[in-house]
Symmetry: C2
Subunit: 240 residues, 2 copies
């Protein structure tokens, strides 16, 4: 029996090279959109509406009386209520609520995938790593691991997550994709301590967030399976 194919798109700028139709597209923005999405949904958020602009975020927040959140360049965007940290969304705050979220890279990538005709989009992070892998194995469909990167540049943490997924599920897929293999190799050398690897290589995002005092956030976002949910995109929102 033919195995389904798996590809990794290391940057939104190369997503157009892959046929996103009839695939499962995994949107990956480890620091921090897809980590925050997993956490908020795990902690009982009713749904998350990803939007591509701060203005739209504010407008939806007013119209629908929901929580507005998001960042630009790593900081809470002006006019929004909350940021892009998992720690902003404990259960006693977020349970039953709707969150409207806009981020620099992750939410933009998600809309790009939609615009290109993706029909099944889920979000992946280390926090919901096993849920993503189990789903991909079970679905038996072609997979595109779509890294958000940073303003279209390839980044280390999204590549590491893609590599972690490849490492876990590769027996079940046909992988004729050098980017997936590079990601797998990177994960193999980093897996014993992802945080230490980010620090040692002085990954650009480690550098940026550490400057904002967010070491705790980085450690959290590199931890497996703290938020065991599978967020999927339907009717313009993410739900579990």
């Amino acid at each position: 029996m033919n195995k389904p194919s798996l590809y990794t798109s290391l940057s939104p700028a190369v997503l157009h090279l892959y046929n996103v139709r009839d695939c499962v597209v995994v949107v990956i923005d480890i620091l921090r959109a897809t980590s925050t999405i997993a956490t908020a949904l795990y902690n009982g958020a009713k749904s998350i509406i990803p939007v591509d602009s701060v203005e739209k975020c504010m407008r939806l927040g007013r119209d629908m009386e929901c929580i507005t959140a998001g960042e630009r360049d790593g900081k809470i965007a002006e006019g929004l209520q909350y940021g892009n940290s998992s720690f902003d969304y404990p259960r006693n705050f977020i349970e039953g609520k709707i969150l409207v979220l806009t981020t620099t890279n992750g939410t933009k990538l998600l809309h790009m995938a939609v615009a290109k005709g993706a029909t099944e989009i889920i979000t992946g992070s280390f926090l919901n790593f096993s849920a993503v892998c189990d789903h991909l194995i079970k679905e038996k469909k072609n997979v595109i691991l779509a890294c958000a990167g940073w303003k279209d540049k390839v980044n280390i943490e999204d590549t590491l997550f893609a590599g972690a997924v490849v490492s876990r599920i590769k027996e079940h897929f046909e992988i004729n994709c050098d980017a997936s293999k590079i990601a797998n190799c990177l994960y193999d050398i980093a897996k014993d301590d992802l945080y230490e690897f980010m620090k040692k290589t002085d990954a650009s995002h480690y550098h940026r967030l550490t400057n904002f005092g967010l070491e705790k956030d980085i450690r959290h976002c590199l931890t497996e399976d703290l938020a065991d949910v599978l967020p999927y995109y339907v009717d313009e929102r993410l739900v579990v």
Copy 2:
């Protein structure tokens, strides 16, 4: 004193993210354009004219009475005389001659860099590895390592070469670029036997060229410093 910056563009599709002006742009297409360019110039070719289409290659070949060569999808393009293998260009054949060359990825990337305003373009391959590194260290200018990839997809061998350069010269540069760090990590795990690494990971280009019986070509293109020249682009041609 501030060190110059070094960036790696893993695919032509992300080259626009980097400012190629006032930089040294190193065009990298290990299998096989930039390896063949180094070899032909090392063996005494007068110059190499990289062109972006088979038609232009044939026309220049007629008008200037020079050798036409090039491939599409790994095979000699119809209408051209020679292919894209170093072994096609021994000294007793190429010395003193002008070669017009067109390839799937490398020559296209070179013209893209020109179109974006690059003023200093050199070509890099393992065959002229030390010449490239020595030049970059000496120039003290910002550097962009521009990988050709395969039809805009990231590939293993160009990434390995970028990683080899980063590994050799990183003390002399400021590197705030995750792609460079990923390339460096990949090279570190592969460097003991690059060919074996390509084989073990079943790199897409290893796979493709092996199907054409080109193992010997691959081994050759992964060997350091067999063609100790520095090809640079001036007046629409590559010379040393």
